[in-house]
Amino acid sequence: GAGVSQSPSNKVTEKGKDVELRCDPISGHTALYWYRQRLGQGLEFLIYFQGNSAPDKSGLPSDRFSAERTGESVSTLTIQRTQQEDSAVYLCASSLAPTPRGNTIYFGEGSWLTVV
């Protein structure tokens, strides 16, 4: 597609339920990132995928959070047993493989999760 696509755009879920968020990166982009944006805050790094390398999961806040990516395509971020503090916008981004001089990172419009 033309840009990074995320779904759902908005999700309201009950505390304790599991949710799955989807990201479809720009075609040809080997790198994929998930960030979380809480209300009034900047973006927090969650996880990074690059090709077939082991992902960098260092930003995942707890073991309730997990993410998968098949090859260089779609990624899903799963939050189990959601808590109210999980309410946030979850932003996905993609880029060509990072180089020391960098490649531009393109963001999607995010999935707004509300846990009630």
């Binding site: 805050q41 900047g42 973006l43 916008v89 531009t104 419009e109 995010g110 707004w112």
Partner: protein
Amino acid sequence: AQTVTQSQPEMSVQEAETVTLSCTYDTSESDYYLFWYKQPPSRQMILVIRQEAYKQQNATENRFSVNFQKAAKSFSLKISDSQLGDAAMYFCAYRSFNSGGSNYKLTFGKGTLLTVNP
């Protein structure tokens, strides 16, 4: 660890006027990248401008320019001839230049909400 600070939670400007958004950062690295991103109500983060720390010349993109003061660790964004479409949340971000490390991570400030008054 690097930190990015935006001390202005909100700013406003009259249409056609100039506004400057502030950003400071803390790092022990000598080579890195700095970015300004714009986030309109659509939530999509849009890259506005990018500065490479090894370049002394300030980056410019049309009406957007930066004042990069490396010694002071300051990276402000100037928007000239402000337009209604410039209204958005603006985030300053840092990325390490580290060929062997996590040079893919962006560290963001908390953002500045810019209002443009007609």
